[in-house]
Symmetry: none
Subunit: 132 residues, 4 copies
DNA sequence: GTGGTCTAGACCACT
DNA sequence: GTGGTCTAGACCACT
């Protein structure tokens, strides 16, 4: 399944769903024209209230990533992949920007900042090599 | 002034104050034994409710970064600098971890992730050179 | 073809079919006594579920614009043209009423409202001249 | 009160609230920096569930017309008046466009369309003269 | 006091 | 079956 929920996280559940689906679409798990799991279906899968899933779908529709075919379900738009990737990149850029800015303003040296980043990246890329 | 507040940010104001003071202490702006601005003073400076400043001071006290001398004011502890730097590093590490994890799970290539990080870092270090 | 469907529109598809056929009848594309495309035929043409077309035909029948000759098909009634034109006019009147009311209550000046209307009308009448 | 709800209307209640507040801001009833009625307050006034009001406020925030000061309430942004007016004009333009397009495609003559529009406008401007 | 999130459940429209 | 709206009510965080 492409969406993982951490009920304990500070990030609201509906936001976790948005991120999870957007990442999945950016990664090509769902492609243009494909139908997404229905609101009720996904709600059961991730054990969350349907209203919460609906709220996530609403946001993705506003972003032009999915669209409704009334009475049928939610579908991935053709431009979804591009939009989703742009969005993820933008969010990542701003997260990195903020983290770097804070670290430097707290007096951390640039080399130290890069070192920590390298560890983060190495850890994750090693993990994906394990899977492969 | 060492604490900057963005009233429109999604980060709660008390958390922004905590971060700002902690960064300032990590960077050596305030040193062990020094007195911090009083609650009312800081509240006026950054135009915020005194209760909000108090809440931030309480949190920093719990973390052992500042302590109260009743009737005198809030003071920086001796271990404050170390603690603050460890805390900033930890927060940074987890922010980078999250960002990297999401980017990769959205199918972004590791080289691209590093590229974006480099831009963030370059931008900030250039800026600080300009100031110097 | 006289009926155009926008699957992404907020207007329900069956309503779009009703409007499209009614407009066509009002404009004289279909005349009293003429046969309309069968449910299946139209459904294939505009790529829509036959149930949806049927629903539209039912509504037009209720309005006395078309009638069924069992085993033969759907036919345009003699009063259809009059009824359809009255209906379009009524819908238009109420759409204009609503738009004007909102614009004025939002403080827009009457001259400005007329100006925007004139542009709408000019654009469409120029277009129809181009086609002619 | 600036927001009127028609429970029987086909327009969802939350959309009626959005329109009502936006029109009020466009008309200068609420000005930049002013606080809006709280969610609970407005909910009581217009006898609607607080969640429904919240949903409307959320949309207006997304549009940059209002912003939250956490723990305090919702406030009108400085650019709100301009944005709201642009939005109302855009909605009006598209409503008129649609109505005109349908009328013409149903074979109505341009003079007739203008006649109906003039009646709509005259009726409303007479009404506002009565109030004055 | 303020807004934000979430659940449970009803009811409706559309295909 | 599908999504969309609304209510009631709980619980939480922030100022």
């Amino acid at each position: 399944m492409s969406v993982q929920i951490s009920p304990g996280s500070h990030t609201p559940i509906y936001q976790q769903i948005i991120n999870g689906l957007r990442d999945a679409i950016a990664a090509g798990v769902y492609r243009g024209g494909e139908m997404l799991p229905s609101i009720r279906e996904l709600a059961v899968q991730i054990r969350v209230n349907p209203n919460t899933v609906q709220r996530a779908y609403e946001a993705l529709e506003r972003d032009g990533i999915i669209y409704v075919r009334r009475g049928l379900g939610m579908f991935v738009t053709n431009k979804a992949s591009r939009t989703a990737r742009a969005c993820v990149e933008e969010q990542m850029r701003s997260a990195l920007d903020d983290a770097v800015a804070r670290a430097l303003s707290a007096g951390m040296r640039a080399e130290k900042v890069r070192e920590i980043f390298d560890e983060s990246l190495a850890k994750r890329t090693d993990l994906s090599e394990l899977k492969a």
